[in-house]
Subunit: 517 residues, 2 copies
């Protein structure tokens, strides 16, 4: 067995079944090991940000890591932005990065970069294999770290991949983490007993799944506490049959206003919310020092058990229910008519999205209405841009689709962000992924104009206008999409959008709709 | 004046006249300062790799830094690959990166990354502004460092950009470097006197410009030394009226064979050549320990003076001239006919390229013949992929064109690499850049197949085949190009290519030709 085969066999033995790859010469032994093992599916991305974004989407839906195979420092560099999003999403993900042969690196070949420094910016676990006898152990440790909701990065010199090895495949990591801090659950119970209606529960991560949410709906009904979801959840189950969650607003003034009425805040799978940017005269933090915090502490796979335990403490009890207490029943908006606006896009999508859809949303300014309008749509999964690094939507939709091939994926996508990783459309075409991409064409970086306007600059100057404007020339998303092998159509009325979306949803495979707003 | 205005005014005062930008909220004060100052042209790139690659091309042609404006860590991350190429090219380049407000950063907002760690992987100079009184000085130091052929990175917190400042604009850095080590020139003279015909001169960087090359042609004629150019030159002047340079081969066996006959090697603007990858059983280094080295040491702007001084030492002398002694006179290949091959592409381009063309080549496997066939074309400038981080060609061509708007730019471009930063086509369209892009469509990562074949793997397995294959579906470069606003055509014969290229060269503005190989 070669070192590369040892890596692949170890990962495959720990349930890694897919690799999003853009390999180079220093990773070809791993590619050859895929051919020998046949246990890991390989998916080519034509840019590394495609691979890392797809692995993020896959990990969010599969709850196990995809492998990403990247070429040296530049390959990792190109994938960093979506690894940053994966890090903020606590997505399980294993990077395997080829390094120059250990004896060649001192020559400082042209492609050499400081891979370890790059990896450290996104990895909660990372290691460079320096000892062949540890290669299977290193791989197992990487997968185990990933399973804790981490980006794990293993850097493997080319000569270590090529070398013959005679060490057994390690079946499991030596460091499994499956903690559940009962004390933290009991603190939450005490807080809810004491001041339930004045308590906000902020949910995120693995707490925002069906079992956890159902448990929290009971808690809310019993105690009167309010249920919030993070502003940018990695994944939340929502719609009919699930509790109505309030989303923490994006802008600080609105967020502070939404949260200030609560004396206590319980965090489950979520971190304390802070402002996306620092605005002069406004605080970084949405909560005051006076508000009491309790953090429910559990490993990702135990978070729902913790919430179930919390709910069991209130079994049978029922108080007035506040926001989050009720579960939604299906209620869809009417199909709108006439020229498209962001509101009408949201209404059409909420009116037509099938039960079980996975909604990948990367359209900050255009999707503002969608979250509200879709809260009573049939049950669906919603994935957001977690780290603010744009270019996540199209690849994430690809990965989510490959994790859940039986579910339709709909990507509600801003045009400016889409442009960052549009190459993912080709991988959608090659894989026949059942992804429908809705491009919100406002032909601007609208969030920047909104931020300028909020800062009192209603009339941008020539440079500010030019640097936030995506027209001149207008991007033709229909041609771009077809160029990648994804059929496409352009719409500018709500009726056309409804017709095209219904038609697209009725057929398998990828499709793109350019929506002129 | 605001801090942002101080930065812009300082940079503009030091001859910075263009900024390739993809700003976000934390860089908007700089954008507003562009509007106030009106001394710096701003060019929007729809992905940061476009901005950094364009700045690399601009700096190589203008010999002064372009500014790059990037948004926080993810923006820098997206631009790193082409910054790595710029670093390897010794391109003057100044990054300005916005950071969260200094008081907001401790809250660890979602977009926060370790910007300094990222910047350190590519920057020879970097600083985070921590003191408003030093902001103009920091900017001047960044520009001065860049002028020494460095990537310089200045990180400026948002609150420092917004703050009112009352410090004067610094006119010049306190650390100017204009060294010329006469001792190193004298060592070269002694070596050439002693063993001229057994001496190889390896040229690169600022030594590969017209005045330096003309000087070295005289030296070669006088001493019999051979003139080589680096395998991947940042910029070399070549063609009619310039000396014939031998290119150091890519693969180690060929490179060692080309260089082993020399007892002595003189380096001028070039580093010692090493293998691109480490191949088992072959050395990292092309030169042996027995070969004597002399490095001519001079700052970028003095390198040609140093070579002139070297030539003056041999004034009037003339020995048998070896490779590099003669200057080329115009001799173009015949226009070929029939189905396109890489050789025919090279012949058509060498036959038709106008005098003064700037050739941006990022087509490793398809452009192998071009360097040889074009050596007697009319005088032209040739820019190569310096750091091996693919996705450099299309943006570099944009930047070169904006630096030299009166010269035609021709980008001989591999399809796999083009896919990395194809968004640069849109900026070419918006700027009306006179760039003709020739896409070599072999629909594969051919270099990986070549490397596999050299390693004895003639028949790749299913994964190796799939991960090196860009077909299924075939990318349609004509549609992609038109989607970005660049007119395009597809050709598959030499006659069609000659006709389309001639037609494209006759009109201003960008054009793309998809060449099916």
């Amino acid at each position: 067995m070669t070192g590369a085969e040892l890596i692949v066999n170890t990962a495959a033995g720990l349930q890694v079944d897919i690799c999003f790859a853009n390999p180079g010469t220093t990773e070809m032994p791993i590619v050859e090991a895929f051919d020998k093992s046949k246990r890991i599916r390989s998916v080519l991305g034509l840019f590394e940000g495609v691979c890392t974004g797809a692995a993020d989407g896959y990990g969010r839906m599969a709850d196990k890591p995809a492998m990403v195979l990247l070429h040296l420092g530049p390959g990792l560099a190109n994938g960093l932005a979506n690894l940053h999003n994966a890090k903020r999403a606590n997505t399980p993900l294993v990077n395997i990065i080829g390094q120059h042969a250990s004896w060649h690196l001192p020559a400082d070949p042209l492609l050499a970069m400081d891979i370890e420094a790059l990896a450290a910016t996104v990895s909660a676990w990372q290691r460079t294999n320096r000892d062949l006898d540890r290669l299977s152990r290193d791989t197992a440790d990487a997968v185990s770290a990933a399973l804790q909701g981490k980006v794990a990065t293993l850097i493997v010199p080319h000569d270590h991949q090529l070398a013959p090895v005679q060490v057994p495949v390690v079946g499991k990591s030596s460091h499994e983490d499956d903690h559940l801090d009962q004390g933290s659950v009991e603190s939450a119970v005490r807080m809810l007993h004491k001041s339930g209606p004045r308590t906000a529960v902020i949910l995120g991560g693995r707490a925002a799944r069906r079992r956890g949410l159902t448990a929290m709906a009971k808690v809310s009904a019993a105690t009167g506490c309010s249920l919030f979801i993070e502003t940018f959840p990695a994944r939340v189950e929502r719609g009919a049959g699930l509790p109505l969650l309030e989303r923490i607003p994006y802008f600080p003034d609105q967020a502070v206003s939404a949260l200030s009425q609560y004396e206590c805040v319980i965090f489950a799978g979520a971190r304390e919310p802070v402002a996306f940017f620092g605005y002069p005269g406004q605080s970084s933090y949405f909560l005051s020092e006076q508000q009491v915090r309790v953090h429910i502490k559990a490993s990702p796979r135990n978070m729902e058990n913790a919430l179930q335990g919390l709910a069991d403490s209130f079994n049978g009890g029922s108080k007035n229910s506040a926001a989050g207490g009720q579960c939604a029943s299906v209620q869809r908006p009417q199909l709108p008519r006439g020229g498209l606006t962001p509101l009408k896009v949201a209404a059409v999508l909420a009116a037509l999205q099938p039960e079980g859809a996975i909604i990948v949303e990367e359209a900050i300014t255009s999707a503002g209405d969608y979250f509200q309008l879709s809260k009573t749509a049939p049950a669906h999964t919603y994935l957001a841009l977690t780290g603010g690094a744009i270019g996540q939507g199209i690849p994430c939709a690809l990965g989510a689709s490959l994790a859940c091939p039986d579910r339709p994926v709909i990507n509600l996508q801003a045009d400016g962000s889409a442009m960052y990783t549009l190459q993912a459309l080709w991988s959608q075409a090659r894989q026949g992924a059942n992804v429908k991409t809705l491009i919100c064409c406002n032909r601007s970086y609208a969030i920047l104009r909104l931020e300028l306007a909020r800062a009192g600059k209603q009339f941008p100057g020539e440079h500010a206008e030019s640097l936030t404007n995506l027209s001149n020339p207008a991007l033709d998303w229909v041609e771009l999409s077809r160029g990648f092998g994804v059929p496409a159509a352009r719409v500018d009325t709500a009726e056309e959008l409804a017709r095209e979306l219904a038609r697209a949803l009725a057929a398998p495979g990828p499709y793109l709709i350019e929506m002129l707003l």
